[in-house]
């Protein structure tokens, strides 16, 4: 148990510290980094999904005035490590997926680089490829672990026996589509290789973590940490796609090393992002639920089939939330992968929990329907006292309170009957639970210095637009017991002490813990009247730690859906979320995170779908005009609320992390509402109007 920081700055609705610079346009993003006389890099992408390059003719590109260099596997430098085949750019003639980079053109302007890229002639020996995920794919295999290091399969009791004897069962298959993260700011790297400088390589990269970025680049190029500096003050969103570097970071570095002393800029196009920066695998989820007549679960099982790329494994942990969400004596989760000739999947906002709270939460609704029990009540009846997976007590678990408060705010008790019609619209309401684990990373250090009468804290953290610039000073102020205005926090540079990746909703928990350790050390060492230049560092591993509890944030989402009786068009007049996510550091940035997550969940429910063209081996709708994300007009009243939750086990701030929970459960709530409106149970996302058309009068 930890004594929580006395909240003074924490909990205040302060404005974003970076807001003004962003609104004025003075915040510089990676591609805009002001550098002297930059060259521009444009990739050439493979146009076959599998095969070998039989020839690359770069002469036409090189003949263009203004083209500085063309790099291919034939002339590119040999990398120190090619273990990671996504990172091993331009090292061989193999093409492992369509869209893979086979050359880059470096030129005086971005237009010339693009023109040069068009002029590179590549011939291939194409091989038959396999890019279609199927539940009965013959090569399904069991990965050793699932992201990041969970057991692949778990089992307890006998699910089959419970299914055979239970009062009511649900056995259905659900699927989620392929999704692309699509942050607003496209991935970009500005790179400078100056061999004579003390730090020869500088990268201005749009990344969720400057230190992890640097580590990967050092490994691939055989450089020492001291030889590389990564800078990233601002990020225009990442949603996991900037959590690890992707091919373009290595290509930019390689291009910079090919023109020593001259900075280069590589900005991916939106279309290129659909094959080069990760995506969420499609998932197929076979669910089994068994319950007694009171609704108590006797069995819960999920068998997941999903894909990875043949060159690099990423195993989305889709079944993981089923392991802990509800009480049940018999349980099973499995994950099987098909390794296909496809781009490399990766993290996308709430990997695991986001797809993994779809099938189960729709299945719970189907179970409630078959039992004739209210779906809110059904969830409450299956509330586990301890974590069913580990047997540990919860650090705090307020799912029931979230459900109750949400039901109250939404007016759930008075919801209209199934099939209710108002004018040209069928009206339905739905509910689903949300969950996200509370995490803290093992590595992060903060340095605090007293400078010109202020406290300056430095840590290589990242703000993806999430609010780190704003909330870290709040935490530091309370930890130092000073006014927020007396604290400055500097982030986004490897010159500052090491910080973990902004991922897993762990940033604030981790960096905030390091800051509080440093603050405590500072006060111990220098008291309350420090001298100018006094400085200490603090590591997260010195922060109090609790392994005795299972720590998660929970939530409940309620949605009202309208379906047009003539056309099947879907609208969402109301979407409410209530979350128990520990102490909220800043209500303003928190609200944006939760609403943002819910919006993305709604988007997944109704629109998002990277349509995979199995013939070509690529996403057909690869731009934002055709890959639809939810727009404002789709939704009416969106609200995010939170409980005043006090959790003394998670960390000294009492915070659980809020970046991802909002996206979990939303899509299931929408599907459940559409069922109530129309009587149709849509088990395959997205819910598009053609899927409800046949049910309309």
């Amino acid at each position: 148990m930890t004594e929580l920081l006395e909240p003074r700055a924490i909990g205040r609705d302060t404005v974003r510290r970076d807001g003004e610079a962003k609104v004025r346009g003075t915040a510089t993003y990676a591609i805009e980094t002001p550098v002297q006389h930059p060259a521009y890099v444009h990739p050439v992408q493979a146009t076959v999904p599998l095969g070998r390059i039989t020839g690359i003719d770069t002469s036409a590109a090189e003949a263009i005035e203004g083209v500085v260099a063309v790099l291919t596997h034939e002339n590119a430098e040999r990398l120190a490590s090619t273990d990671d085949r996504e990172f091993a750019v331009l090292q061989s003639d193999e093409v492992a997926f369509r869209g893979q980079v086979v050359a880059v053109v470096v030129a005086e302007t971005s237009e010339l680089a693009r023109q040069g890229a068009d002029a590179v002639e590549v011939t291939y020996a194409e091989q038959p490829h396999d890019s279609a995920l199927r539940v009965d794919h013959p090569d399904l295999y069991k990965p050793e672990k699932i992201n990041p290091s969970f057991e692949t399969d778990t089992a307890e009791g006998d699910v089959a026996a419970a299914m055979a004897t239970a009062h009511v069962t649900v056995e259905e298959t659900y699927s989620t589509a392929m999704y692309h993260n699509n942050p607003l700011e496209m991935h970009a790297t500005t790179a400078l290789w100056d061999p004579s400088a003390e730090v020869p390589l500088t990268l201005w990269d749009s990344t969720q973590g400057v230190h992890p970025d640097r580590a990967a680049v050092c490994e691939v190029f055989g450089l020492e940490q001291e030889q590389v500096r990564v800078i990233c003050p601002f990020v225009g969103g990442g949603f996991g796609s900037k959590g690890t570097p992707h091919a373009h970071v290595f290509l930019a570095t390689m291009a910079a090393r090919a023109v020593p002393g001259r900075p280069v800029k590589l900005g991916l196009t939106r279309q290129q992002m659909f094959s080069l920066v990760g995506y969420r695998t499609p998932t197929i989820q076979r669910m089994q639920l068994a319950a007694d007549r009171t609704g108590r679960l006797q069995a819960i099982a999920i068998d997941v089939v999903e894909q990875t790329s043949r060159i690099k494994e990423f195993a989305e942990q889709t079944g993981v939330p089923t392991r802990m969400m509800y009480a049940s004596p018999n349980r099973r989760t499995t994950h099987r992968l098909a390794a296909l000739d496809v781009p490399v999947p990766s993290w996308m906002r709430a990997p695991g929990e986001c797809p993994g709270m779809f099938g189960p939460e729709v299945a719970m609704d189907e179970l409630a329907e078959r039992l004739g029990i209210d779906p809110v009540e059904l969830r409450i009846r299956n509330e586990p006292e301890r974590d069913p997976e580990t047997g540990k007590p919860w650090s705090s678990r307020n799912l029931v309170q979230c459900l109750r408060e949400g039901a109250e705010r939404f007016g759930w008790a008075d919801r209209p009957p199934a099939g209710h019609r108002e004018g040209a619209w069928l009206v339905g309401t739905g509910v689903a639970s949300s969950v996200y684990p509370t995490m803290r990373q093992a590595t992060s250090t903060a340095r605090i210095r007293y400078e010109d009468g202020r406290y300056v804290a430095e840590i290589g953290a990242a703000d993806l637009g999430t609010g780190a610039w704003t909330v870290l000073p709040q935490i530091a102020a309370d930890a130092l017991d000073v006014d927020e205005g007396d604290v400055e926090v500097r982030i986004g540079d490897t010159r500052y002490p090491i910080a973990s990746v902004a991922g897993g909703s762990s940033g604030t928990n981790t960096w905030g813990s390091a800051l509080t350790v440093a603050a405590r050390e500072f006060r111990t060492k220098f008291g309350r009247s420090p001298a100018d230049g006094d400085e200490v560092s603090g590591d997260v591993d010195q922060a109090s730690k609790d392994d005795a509890h299972a720590a998660y944030a929970f939530g409940a989402q309620f949605v009202e859906v309208r379906v047009n009786v003539d056309t099947g068009e879907l609208r969402v007049p109301r979407l409410y979320g209530v979350f128990g996510a520990g102490r909220i550091i800043n209500p303003r940035t928190a609200r944006s995170q939760l609403l943002g997550g819910m919006t993305m969940g709604l988007s997944m429910a109704l629109h998002e779908n990277s349509v995979w063209d199995t013939r070509l081996g690529q996403v057909a709708n690869h731009d934002l005009a055709e890959y639809h994300v939810t727009v404002n007009a789709d939704v009416g009243d969106m609200q995010a609320h939170w409980l005043d939750e006090h959790d003394p086990y998670v960390n000294v701030m009492g915070s659980k992390g809020i970046g991802e929970i909002g996206i979990t459960g939303t899509a299931a709530a929408v599907v459940n509402a559409v069922h109530r409106a129309t009587g149709i149970r849509i088990r395959d996302l997205p819910v598009t109007l053609d899927k409800v058309l046949t049910a309309l009068p």
Binding site: Q45, T47, E111, R114, Q115, D118, Q271, A424, D566, T567, G568, E569, R571, L606, H607, N609, V611, W612, D613, T614, R615, L616, A620, N621, H622, D623, A625, E626, H628, T630, V631, N632, A633, D634, T688, L689, D690, L693, T694, L696
Partner: protein, 338 residues
């Protein structure tokens, strides 16, 4: 992307002459479609001729009680014009259902009907496409066909390798409204001026899918004329799409209901704005109750060809377009009775 020369002629005649003499020249208006295509390599002109300031930006009353819209009038200006909103609600509604405010501020009356298909394969130069590269084949057949045609396609079961195959749709909302309004297109070409009935401006793919319209190289749209609608006529545009805003139509309907007459044009179903003349014929003089409209649409859709595809195909468009027409006509007639 490839370099091109850029010209800003003094007047429309010079612009026409400039384009006519250069086989790989194009006109540039708002640029909201063309500039994308330049970047993607879909359009590879040698010369881009800016006509933005060379045609009229006025909307004027015509002697017959209609309107003449200069080709440079923006979509925003046109949709906001009081005369358009009062006399041709179908047009104002169609314009406002298209794109976004920012795009409509740039998009022009001449450019909008000439925007090219949104077929994803057309826009991806790494895939075969008869429209972009004649004779290369059609990648859409059997591919992602959600936004593709069900009417007027080249063959019953299109052959993806045949040079005439194209199942693309025309994406403009405005054009569907102009088709139902019997608009006339004023054109200036190397051989002088001519008038083209709007319904004849766009082509079906026929044996040359690369040609969207009947315009000859160098022909410039200078204005579009709207004839008056019959007294008491009501009109509306209904667009059904995958999200509430900022998406192209899955199907759309432009309808005019006047005494004893129903006029219908359909979007999202064919290579051109589709005037549903068979349905109009079936409804002429008769009652316009739901059943009658449904029946008329059955007649219209007898030749419809749903396309299978990797995403489940577009067969849903057949019931969807009928339902949308029925609802639109119902709303208009109820409005008339009220």
């Amino acid at each position: 992307m490839k370099p091109f020369a850029f010209a800003r002629p003094a007047d429309a005649a010079e612009a026409v002459a400039t384009v006519a003499t250069e086989p790989r020249a194009v006109f540039l208006a708002g640029g909201t479609n063309l500039v994308d295509h330049l970047k993607l390599g879909v359009a590879r002109p040698d010369l881009v001729v800016d006509v933005r300031r060379l045609t009229s930006r006025e909307i004027t009353d015509t002697a017959d009680g209609g309107l003449r819209i200069g080709a440079a009038v923006t979509n925003s200006e046109l949709a906001a014009d009081r005369r358009v909103r009062e006399r041709y609600p179908v047009l104002a509604q169609a314009l406002l259902a298209g794109a976004t405010g920012q795009l409509r501020n740039l998009a022009t009356t001449g450019g909008n009907p000439l925007q090219r298909t949104r077929c994803v394969y057309f826009q991806d130069v790494s895939t075969p496409c008869n429209k972009r590269e004649p004779g290369s084949g059609c990648s859409a057949v059997g591919g992602y066909t959600r936004y593709h045609a069900i009417l007027g396609t080249s063959a019953a079961l299109p052959d993806p390798t045949a040079p005439e195959t194209c199942i693309a749709t025309h994406p403009s909302d405005m054009a569907v409204a102009l088709a139902v309004l019997d608009a006339q297109v004023q054109v200036l070409g190397p051989a002088g001026a001519r008038t083209i009935p709007f319904a004849e401006l766009h082509r079906l793919p026929g044996d040359d899918p690369s040609r969207d319209t009947v315009l000859e190289h160098g022909e410039l749209i200078t204005a579009i004329d709207l004839p008056p609608l019959p007294a008491g006529a009501r009109s509306a545009y209904r667009k059904v799409r995958d999200r509430a805003s900022y998406a192209f139509a899955l199907v759309s309907v432009a309808a005019v209901v006047a005494d004893g007459e129903v006029r219908l044009a359909l979007g999202g179903v064919a290579h051109k704005p589709w005037r549903a003349s068979r349905a109009e014929e079936a409804l002429r003089g008769g009652p316009v109750a739901d059943d009658a409209v449904r029946h008329a649409m059955d007649v219209e859709l007898t030749t419809a060809q749903p396309q299978p595809g990797v995403d489940g195909g577009n067969g849903f468009k057949i019931p969807l377009v009928t339902r949308t027409v029925v609802a639109t006509v119902r709303d208009l007639t109820q409005e008339t009775q009220a």
